[in-house]
Amino acid sequence: METHPYDAIVLGGGPAGLTAAIYLARARLSTLVLDTGTPGGQMNLSHEVANYPGVLVTSGAELGRIMRSQAESFGARVISQVDLLGLDLKSELKLVEVEDEGVFSAPVVILAPGGSPRTLGLDSERRFMGRGISYCATCDGDFFAGQDIAVIGGGNSALEEAVSLTKYASSVTILHEFDHFQAHPWAVEQARTNPKIRFLMEQMVTDFEGDERLAAVTSIHKVTGKTVRVPVTGTFIFIGYVPRTVFLSGQVELSDRGEILTDERMRTNLPGVYAAGDARAKPYRQITTAVSDGTIAAIHAAEVVENWKKKAK
């Protein structure tokens, strides 16, 4: 099979991967970005981004579109919706095999696969997805006008979206697994003072019930063991994200949470392999921190590529 050589391959087209591509391509390195989904990553799930410096307010999808255009304007090639068939990160020349595209090689690879919304993992959750269960309030909120709904989660997203859903719903019941919230105090206060919102704390959601559509959520109180059945026609789930690193197992060193371990220059345990963005083990996950990771990884990776080229001459 023919191998297509590049100076650098970036796996993932979210803010970390696209920023890395901007820096690498601008350093005149031939750069390939491979994304198994839609470039933009989790930014695509943000209806409004208001904390990205230099941009008053925009949508995540628009910010992703601009980042992609910027990377392509410097010569990076971006391929979306790829199916990865194989990955060899341990050799000096890294190899990535992609269905219908062939094998790509490069002396450096930047891993920026990002994360996916965490699910509860219940069979009934899958059954009612799009029939009462949603992960996007701005997308599906208006289906539940005048109805009783639930929000599962206790972070900023859960509480902010619960408040925004009161625009449509008659009532919003927040079910959270702990006795306190992880959200910022101001987000908790906004939710607590909203008369349409009530709280069920220390709940472990066990089932979703209904026929064609969702009719109720069942949960168990984690301390008393008491079962609660909440009649709702809609449930929005915001319980964080999981790193998309299953495909890297056995290749690079991962934390026990599946996050990629790096040093402060974004180097993994493998020479020539970097990681950036939400899939990296780190305390804060924002677009800005992903952009920072991508920048650092690309600057150091560019030095490695230049040395590799000199050595190869």
């Binding site: 989904g37 839609t38 997308c139």
Partner: protein
């Protein structure tokens, strides 16, 4: 107006003509929102792999959607965007609600439209 790389269905007449043509059709009915954009992208990526399928989109809030896709019995229980409907010989072969990844779409295309 949807800003996608798919062809748009903009009128009920166009929809009916497509269905009566007997072609294999996949229609993504949505908005330019977080759950919809990835599905348009998936469909666009599959055009070359499935040359006999017409990959189309339709604006969820346009009159054509209210008169066609949103009125189908198969979408009656749907509460998540986008509504994606697959047609074969003018009839609904499959329908899904909410975001779908490439693998899920391919499974439906292989099972229902091949």
């Amino acid at each position: 107006m949807l800003h996608t790389k798919l062809n748009h269905i903009e009128s009920t007449q166009q929809y009916q003509e497509l269905l009566s043509s007997g072609k294999k059709i996949a229609v993504v009915c949505g908005r330019m929102g977080p759950m919809c954009i990835p599905v348009y992208d998936v469909m666009d990526s599959l055009k070359t792999k499935y040359p006999d399928v017409e990959f189309m989109d339709m604006e969820f809030d346009a009159p054509v959607a209210a008169e066609t896709i949103r009125r189908l019995p198969e979408t009656r229980s749907f509460q998540g965007l986008p509504f994606t409907v697959y047609f074969r010989d003018g009839k609904v072969a499959a329908a899904t609600s909410s975001i779908q990844n490439k693998q899920q779409v391919k499974e439906i295309l292989d099972a229902k439209l091949k």
